[in-house]
Symmetry: C2
Subunit: 263 residues, 2 copies
Amino acid sequence: MTVETSIAPLKRPADAPVQLFLARLLRRSVLTGEEQEAILRLPTEAWTVGANRDFVAQGQETDRACLIASGLTARFAQTANGARQIVAFHIPGDMADLHSVVTTRAVSALQALTQSTILRIPHKALRDVASRYPAVAQAFWRDTILDVGVVVQSLVNLGRRDAAGRLAHLYCEMGIRYGQIGQNDGGRYRFPATQAHVADALGLTAIHVNRTVRLLREEGLIEIEGKEVRVLDWDGLAARAEFDDNYLQLDPLDFGGPVRTRG
Amino acid sequence: MTVETSIAPLKRPADAPVQLFLARLLRRSVLTGEEQEAILRLPTEAWTVGANRDFVAQGQETDRACLIASGLTARFAQTANGARQIVAFHIPGDMADLHSVVTTRAVSALQALTQSTILRIPHKALRDVASRYPAVAQAFWRDTILDVGVVVQSLVNLGRRDAAGRLAHLYCEMGIRYGQIGQNDGGRYRFPATQAHVADALGLTAIHVNRTVRLLREEGLIEIEGKEVRVLDWDGLAARAEFDDNYLQLDPLDFGGPVRTRG
DNA sequence: CGCGCGTTTGATCGCACTCAACCCGCGTGG
DNA sequence: CCACGCGGGTTGAGTGCGATCAAACGCGCG
């Protein structure tokens, strides 16, 4: 059980975020050439956002969805008294708020953790494609359900694992996800979140994240160099995390992309 | 700011679970009479499940969705080593796995916490309705997104609140949700989960749940009698929980049902 | 009556929080 | 050129919330 990332999932990996998004859909849904064309032809509008800036505020009404083209962004939920909790990280190729197509009021905020470029796609265009092609509507629905799976895993993470398990699980998940977009180089991937960000995601303090990182390093599982994560012992890390990648794949339609961790 | 539940949301509240489900959809989506008829005419098959029985196993392939008609059920996620975490409680009128329509492999198990009756609805029938009526497809998609909001709140709950806050939040949420189906009688509602179940949902141990219940009781916020929860001080409880009910409503299309807590 | 489940209480332990520094690299400005 | 501030990472000491271990109680039920 190793992570192999030798083959990029697309012909034009990095410079075509819409293609990454399409690839993400195709990993779980079957779409005809015409339907794929329709998605690739969606109108987009590029937008650059500085680090630590909300680009969608909680409760805000929007008329376009955000496809992450580059950078690292996160979905935040906040309690009444202002404490923030990261619900999900979004990496290039993710449509961070595809759900906003059917619920225009944002339930949670979106923030850029590093400088990021966003492609904004009008809801109207997405709704048009979805109602013209029911298979696309299903693919969209299915994609939002994948996001739910990720959130559910986070819930298990916070509810049932200690700090080391949570952190190990995060590194496993991000390793797989970066691998799916061709940015995991043999267990090395760039994950530019600060320890404070990670703390907000894992329900810990930044200080304790720091100590837990050190712990995993001392166990020989990972190595951190700047913003780059290096997984030294994938099996050990997955065992520490009790990591089961099923929730990321939705197997039956998976064509067996470049990153496989079991089977 | 009080909980008022004098008016039942439907003409035939308890004995018509499909109507409850439809009411749930209509709380957030606009559907024509024809579309509503189509939902009410969905074929169903009643099924009784004993307490503590899984009626959908994790990883199982299904061809029908489960509408809760009576009883209390929960969605469970489990880690590789078997620890279980309750992701969501499902009460009558909830379609516990509407998402299974587009992803037939169950990502998490469904278990009856008390004896429950389930109406099983074939995916094919749901898909047919959804593709015949795009508005219904949207309503289904939107409903799954509401579920996500509940899970996200749970995530914030585990990540950012202490035991008392988590428990208070749960009692607030269930109070609202039972109110929406006409089963909250002036702050009193029946919530037949054991303290062990609550512990599995809140990421605590049953023992600590017990002590936290006592704490809330000593603070004069709630009273527990058997399986009935009595909220003595809604404002106080909501404050303790930092409860914000926005995530349950998706306002713009809400017609202002019987239960309102703000505004 | 005995059994099992759920609840309740007590005593102790330990993981993660809090408070408090300090280091380092970087950018800015005197 | 150095002073300074700032964001991010690192380390130490002390504390507390919630887990763990252990036991008893009440109640429904066979």
